[in-house]
């Protein structure tokens, strides 16, 4: 094929695909600034005639969106910090500490990855009821405090830490805890950032479990609140689009800021171990 033509074709296709990928998001942004009822007219308008912040104001003033935003931030941050701590420790132990049954235990964990999380949900609800954690932040956070995927990711990365470094520190008389904190953690920093944004995004976007365990709206996270609003206010498309913007924008910005780490984690997590 003529290379000029090929260049135009390839870039044209990419441009088209990008348009399909981004248009729904741009449309959401545009409609969120329309006045109530404007989007339900023919032909469907692409841009607001008189841009307004009214939908956002209504969401924060009447629908308690501010509270849901704070809930989402709180729950996602807590899950990120707590699971990061436990996954780092466990992943490091699997990579660098010696103990009986290490490989078998790790294989068992990897094997458990085939069990869909939803299988555990029904008894988990009863367990949390027994612990008094239904309809609380803890009910969402506690089951997310460690993940097999996170442990796996850390182990893969931590295997690259040179053994000589650890041995030298041991000979110098450093305790295991100090070695972990002062030598290993600084080396694991890139994977920490990666795992942190991975976990944060997953927690932010998580739907099914918070939907089940949060019974009252005071603890709702944004996706739950949005789904609930969408059922009650299906008619108010402009309002719903503003709600979608509030839900999507924080994670989109976070991704744009840290995408290098995110994409690295994605690749690391998908290479067979």
């Amino acid at each position: 094929m003529n290379p000029r033509l090929a260049r135009i074709l390839i870039n044209g296709l990419l441009l088209g695909a990008t348009a399909v990928a981004l248009l729904p998001l741009l449309w959401m942004l545009s409609v969120s600034f329309m006045s109530p009822g404007e989007a339900s007219s023919l032909p469907p308008p692409l841009l607001p005639t008189h841009p307004t912040l009214g939908n956002y104001r209504a969401l924060f003033a009447q629908a308690g969106m501010g509270r849901y935003l704070v809930n989402s931030l709180l729950v996602s941050s807590a899950i990120t910090v707590l699971s990061l701590a436990s996954n780092l420790m466990a992943g490091y132990a699997f990579a660098k500490l010696r103990f009986a049954g290490r490989e078998r235990l790790f294989q068992a964990l990897i094997g458990a990855l085939v069990i869909p999380a939803q299988v555990a949900m029904l008894p988990l609800f009863l367990l949390l009821k027994y612990l008094g954690l239904v309809d609380s932040y803890a009910g969402v956070i506690v089951p997310g405090m460690a993940t097999i995927f996170g442990i796996y990711l850390v182990r893969q990365y931590a295997r690259g830490v040179p053994d000589e470094l650890l041995e030298a520190a041991r000979i110098d008389g450093a305790g295991e805890w100090r070695i972990f904190r002062q030598i290993v953690l600084p080396l694991l920093k890139p994977i920490m950032v990666t795992l942190a944004i991975f976990t944060f995004l997953a927690a932010w976007n998580d739907f099914m479990w918070p939907l089940i365990v949060l019974t009252g709206q005071e603890h709702y996270t944004l996706p739950i609140a949005l789904a609930s609003l969408a059922r009650e206010h299906a008619q108010d498309s402009e309002l719903m689009m503003a709600g979608s913007v509030i839900t999507v924008l924080p994670v989109l910005l976070l991704f744009l800021a840290l995408q290098r780490y995110y994409l690295e984690g994605l690749l690391l997590g998908s290479v067979k171990g």
């Binding site: 469907p44 500490l97 009863l126 949005l226 995408q259």
Partner: protein
């Protein structure tokens, strides 16, 4: 300090969490699926009956379960190839030396992946609205009749599949792109010297070299797509005529809407068994294919 004890102390937090909040419930779910645990039993445990395998047996005689299973298979069978095909195509485009602004395109194509399913499903619900949706407006502009995307039982699942492809293809695109970049350029050079055309190069170099990547991507995507839930929950509520009711949605309704926890656990385990079987089947096929390949080469 004893190195063994140290190791277990490091493992303790994660293993406790996984043991108590994942493994234990999974085992309990198996037990639960052998009972008729429901609201009556929740109110008073004396109303609980042990029913053996009856929940599984009843499931096989329940039309709605077969509907949900059929819908889920439909979603997987059509959605996964489309999804991976789109990922492969976009990865090939991005990998082409002729492509410009690669980082921009890559980020833009990946953006839907990080968005929240619920939020973007809400957007799609409006875009595909029969009357005021942009999609039908576009159709009418080119002279086609409007389609009742989410209201017609024949169109609702295709619409949800299109949504899932849009939302997810970027993820596999990145993985496949990395796979493409790992193919040694010498292979292509040698092929070019031999005079192999671009399609031949794709068929004889790119695809075989991508094989492990594609297998892994397929297995992960299949397992993920079997867990269809949020999309129909937000876009169609399982309708119209339960044409978008998935197995997981059925488990959710049985379990957390009607509180038949015994029945719902049986649904969950059945889904688990299916995912497991399909994964094994894929691995078996892949291995057999490898052996055949090896025999030829």
């Amino acid at each position: 300090m004893n190195p063994h004890r140290t190791a277990w102390l490091f493992l303790m937090p994660a293993l406790l969490v996984l043991g108590i909040f994942f493994l234990l419930p999974v085992i309990a779910a198996l037990g639960l699926s052998l009972t008729d645990y429901d609201l009556y039993a929740l109110a008073n445990i004396h109303n609980l009956r042990f029913v053996g395998l009856h929940n599984y047996w009843a499931l096989l005689h329940r039309p709605l379960f077969w509907t949900a299973l059929g819908n889920t298979f439909y979603f997987v069978a059509v959605g996964v190839p489309l999804s991976i095909g789109t990922s492969l195509a976009s990865a090939l485009l991005l990998n082409s030396p002729l492509a410009r602004f690669k980082p921009f395109f890559r980020t833009a194509l990946f953006a839907p992946v990080v968005t929240t399913v619920v939020a973007v499903a809400v957007i799609w619900r409006y875009l595909f609205n029969t009357k005021y949706g942009l999609v039908n407006y576009g159709l009418s502009e080119i002279g086609l009749d409007p389609i009742d995307w989410l209201g017609n039982p024949h169109w609702a699942m295709p619409t949800i599949i299109a949504f899932a492809v849009w939302k997810n293809f970027g993820y596999n695109m990145i993985i496949i792109l990395a796979g493409l970049q790992a193919i040694p350029p010498e292979l292509y050079e040698a092929a070019r010297i031999d005079g192999a055309s671009a399609p031949r190069q794709f068929w004889h170099i790119t695809l075989p070299m991508l094989r492990p990547t594609m297998l892994m991507v397929t297995i992960l995507t299949v397992a993920g797509y079997f867990q269809l839930f949020a999309e129909p929950y937000v876009m169609t509520e399982g309708g119209p005529l339960q044409s978008t009711m998935s197995v997981l949605y059925l488990m959710y309704e049985d379990g957390f809407k009607w509180w038949n926890l015994g029945v719902a656990s049986a649904v969950a385990f059945t889904l688990f068994a299916i995912i497991f079987a399909v994964t094994m089947l894929l691995l078996w096929f892949a291995r057999r294919g490898e052996r055949a390949e090896g025999g030829r080469g």
